[in-house]
């Protein structure tokens, strides 16, 4: 019997009668992480990792019916043993391990292999069946070590300071923004953050993650000379809005795994594209799958067809799972059609 099946409401565990990251309101939900496409409002009960509590309450409401569990600690519900294990994606992100009648399944949500210092690093968990994402499930996606990307960002920022231009860096406001803040060279100049980013910085700081001091961009006046030295962290939606006017002459950039491709980089229409993702790249996906020792792999959102076919060729029992998870890199252009196509 399958421990997890796909239902119109989300991924469902029949033995335990609960959903994992449901996209429609359900009675009982278990949440991998707090990105909007995985953690939605309206569920009767939430179970999540302790590390995600701050973010979940900040995003879904202080009064949600939330029960938390530290990483690695077990809880048994209707005979199903559950535990959370770090997924290395964003603060509080977890893989969910389920054990029932000797069968072990792991639902990984979204994950990243390279440790980044802003959340507990990815931890492979042995299992019989592994549920994996496939956002960057093509061999063209291979990440550089992040230190190299941060060095590029620092150089770009410095070059802009030399030209007297503000440096506006667009990125997803939860996770990516804090990872960048944590990784860049704060001595180069003042750092400002957009109103969508600042509250999340607070949650990270409260959780003990070091972030350099940031100013709320709204507090800085237009034409303030400080802007010409500043790095501004903003969500992509701020681009092209009137909010940008205050920066006068600026250079803009975008940080995302999609920036690996010339086409997406050019379409974005920014001066620079930095290839920085909170998801596993192709070698990362394959490594993670191998580490679990799983013989069966269920593939969700991203390049489902490609990853399934590739895993089958390697002798694994792989299948596609249709989900409604989206793309927190915010430029979902490489994802395959919604149908889980599996080529023979």
């Amino acid at each position: 019997m399958d421990l997890v099946i796909a239902r119109p409401e989300g991924l469902y565990c029949p033995a335990g009668d609960f959903y994992i990251d449901p996209w429609r309101p359900v009675e009982r939900s278990v949440i991998t992480h707090a990105h909007g496409d995985h953690a939605r409002t309206g569920n009767g009960h939430y179970l999540a990792s302790s590390a995600s509590e701050g973010i979940l309450r900040a995003r879904l409401g202080q009064d949600i019916n939330l029960q938390t569990l530290p990483y690695g600690q077990r809880l048994t519900h209707q005979g199903v043993t559950l535990s959370f294990h770090p997924a290395g994606h964003v603060l509080g992100s977890a893989q969910i391990r389920l054990e029932y009648g000797g069968e072990v399944w792991v639902a990984s949500g979204d994950y990243k292999i390279e440790p980044d210092g802003t959340c507990a690093p990815f931890e492979p968990v042995r299992c019989h069946t592994f549920i994996t994402e496939s956002t960057f499930g093509l061999p063209i996606y291979r990440w550089q070590p992040q230190a190299q990307v941060f060095a590029e960002i620092n150089q770009w920022w410095q070059a802009n300071i030399a030209l007297g231009k503000a440096s506006v860096l667009f990125c997803y406001s939860f996770g990516k923004a804090q990872r960048i803040l944590h990784g860049i060279d704060e001595t180069l100049g003042p750092i400002l953050s957009h109103g969508a980013v600042e509250p999340l910085n607070r949650v990270y700081r409260d959780a003990g993650v070091y972030l350099p001091p940031t100013l709320y961009a709204g507090d800085v006046k237009k034409n303030d000379p400080l802007l010409r030295q500043a790095l501004i962290i903003a969500p992509p939606s701020a681009g092209g809005s009137s909010w940008m006017r205050r920066f006068g002459d600026y250079s803009d950039s975008f940080a995302s795994g999609w920036m690996r491709l010339r086409g997406t980089r050019r379409r974005r229409g920014v001066d620079r594209g930095f290839v920085l993702s909170d998801h596993a790249d192709w070698p990362g996906l394959l490594w993670a799958i191998e580490q679990t020792g799983a013989e069966r792999v269920m593939v969700t959102h991203g390049s489902i067809g490609v990853l399934v076919r590739h895993l089958r060729e390697r002798g694994l029992d792989a299948q596609g799972f249709n989900t409604e998870y989206g793309d927190d890199e915010e430029d979902n252009t490489t994802a395959e059609p919604a149908i889980a196509e599996v080529q023979p």
Binding site: R266, V306, E313
Partner: protein, 562 residues
């Protein structure tokens, strides 16, 4: 190589002309002349013929990357660019080659042409291993002849001119023919481009043509013409021919014919050879090569819009068939004969006439043509009208006459360089395109900026009237331009949600989207399922107000044929 790859990356990353200009200036300022020579060649559109068959490149990339062929293919479909795909899937290497662009091209890449697959599969991986990723991508683009970057020739000209302290028109003049296949760039040819102005500069040498003067589109309603352009009498008005823009150069007892792409096409049009006798040395004529079949008694009559005889100028499709041929046999030359419809005189008696007013050039042109007295050289007739409204009425005959509309040239204008406006303006006043409402049935991911985005579509019309219950959609045209980026993203997401089946890179979708398609010409075709081929199809508008049932049918297209 690394420097040129750096320049490519900079040009590719920005949309600002000033930033591009600065990047090119910085590159040329430090580049060795032999490297700069090739850089100018590639930046201004030069493309050596493909050096290695694409099939071999793919096979090698699959082998070196260790991917299965289908996984490589999936990757290519997502990237939309072969060179980029290969550079993304091969192992990353540190850049170890010290060789410059010229050395790479001349010593390493050009010698690959015609080599055996065996040799190539040994040699190419050795070359690739010396390059970092940006240089590798560039190298493969040079090998496949697909190097393209968003700079115009005008911008390259400006970069060189400002660096050398020259007038950019002068540089443009020197650059003409630089990218022709017969030219091999070297340090000397580059230094000539940027050399100080010399006194005998204007003395044209060999068969070199002049930079073409290009027209701007005029889209305003005719009511505004008087205010915008002044009285019609100040303008020289001609038909806008749908052929190949060309310059005929006669010097030193020889004749050269150049296309607008600055390609030497003399050998493609042997019937023009006879002009070598009728035109005196030091003559350069600008005009249009068209397929011409006159069933009419006289040339004058051939242009008469009132005449009921079929027009002498033939559809572009016919000319295209002829261009496609490798060899021109007698039959083709008889069935698809061409003439030059001349409309400008750029050089006369060895003198550059481009700074003479349009009207004067025209008068002299007519004399040259009359003296030449050769039926393959005809004057493009000048049209006259009482006012703009009268001309607008005459323009309505465009479709019937097989022309695209009218050209308006100020009578006192000089002959400019490229799409400039400072020396006078040429306007193209085109007729509205044909249009039909068609249904999107297949989509494919695009290339370049549209990589990974479903942006190339196949459109269909119904093969029967709405009341017929068994009617089906027949594909008749492909189009990929005309939508805004935002619309394209929206269509992309609908395609992904409504995909029915995938055939390799092509997705068939549940018919739900209707677009107004515009096109310039329509002809019968045996090669198309619909029996119809259209020219320059593009999306004019997304008809979100129309359902699939309301789209047009084949009968609509057949009516346009009449």
């Amino acid at each position: 190589m690394k420097d040129f790859a750096g320049l490519y990356a900079e040009l590719d990353a920005t949309t600002s002309s000033n930033a591009k200009l600065a990047a090119m200036q910085a590159y040329f300022a430090q580049a060795a002349p032999q490297d700069a020579a090739w850089a100018v060649y590639f930046l201004s559109g030069g493309r050596p013929r493909q050096l290695v068959p694409v099939r071999i490149l793919r096979e090698l990339a699959v082998e070196v990357s260790g991917l299965t062929p289908w996984l490589f293919e999936e990757s290519y479909q997502a990237v939309g660019d072969l060179a980029e795909t290969i550079s993304l899937v091969l192992p990353e290497n540190p850049h170890t080659s010290e060789a410059g662009l010229a050395q790479w091209i001349e010593d390493k890449l050009l010698p690959l042409r015609g080599e055996t697959p065996d040799y190539l599969s040994r040699q190419l991986p050795l070359l690739w291993a010396q390059l970092d990723r940006p240089s590798l991508m560039l190298c493969i683009k040079l090998i496949t002849g697909s190097f393209r970057v968003g700079v115009s020739k005008l911008l390259v000209t400006r970069a060189l001119a400002s660096m050398a302290g020259l007038d950019s028109k002068r540089v443009a003049q020197r650059l003409v023919g630089y990218t022709d296949l017969s030219n091999r760039p070297d340090a000397a040819s580059y230094l000539k481009l940027i050399a100080p102005e010399s006194s005998d500069e204007h003395a044209q040498r060999g068969g070199q043509p002049y930079p073409f003067f290009l027209a701007h589109a005029l889209a305003q309603p005719v009511e505004q013409f008087e205010a915008l352009l002044g009285p019609a009498s100040h303008w020289q008005v001609e038909w806008k021919w749908d052929g190949i823009r060309a310059q005929v150069v006669k010097r030193d007892g020889r004749l050269w014919v150049w296309s607008r792409g600055e390609e030497l096409v003399t050998e493609r049009f042997p019937e023009l050879d006879s002009l070598v006798h009728g035109l005196p040395d030091g003559t350069v004529i600008d005009g249009e090569i068209v397929v011409w079949k006159t069933a009419r008694p006289s040339t004058e009559d051939a242009f008469d819009p009132q005449s009921s005889a079929p027009p002498a100028v033939q559809p572009f499709a016919l000319l295209q068939q002829r261009i496609g041929r490798k060899t021109l046999d007698k039959k083709i030359l008889e069935e698809v004969p061409v003439v030059v419809l001349a409309y400008d005189l750029l050089e006369w008696q060895g003198e550059d006439w481009r700074n003479q007013p349009q009207a004067r050039r025209r008068t002299q042109l007519e004399q040259v043509i009359a003296r030449c007295n050769n039926p393959v050289l005809l004057p493009s007739p000048v049209l006259t009208g009482e006012d703009w409204f009268d001309l607008a009425r005459q323009r309505e005959a465009s479709r019937r006459l097989g022309v695209e509309g009218m050209m308006l040239k100020a009578r006192d204008a000089l002959y400019g360089v490229g799409r400039t406006k400072d020396m006078g303006v040429w306007w193209k006043w085109k007729v509205d395109p044909f249009s039909v409402d068609a249904v999107l049935i297949y989509a494919q991911r695009g290339h370049g900026r549209r990589a990974s985005l479903y942006s190339d579509y196949t459109f269909a019309v119904w093969d029967g009237p709405p009341e017929s219950s068994q009617r089906a959609l027949v594909p008749f045209a492909k189009a990929y331009s005309g939508l805004t980026d935002a619309e394209m993203r929206e269509v992309d997401s609908i395609v992904r949600k409504t995909t029915v089946e995938k055939f390799g890179p092509v997705s068939s979708v549940k018919p739900s989207l209707v677009f107004e398609l515009g096109f310039e010409g329509i002809a019968l075709s045996r090669r198309h399922k619909s029996g119809i081929a259209v020219r320059f199809p593009r999306m004019l508008r997304w008809r979100q107000d129309k359902t699939v049932d309301e789209a047009d049918s084949l009968a609509t297209l057949q009516d346009l044929l009449a």
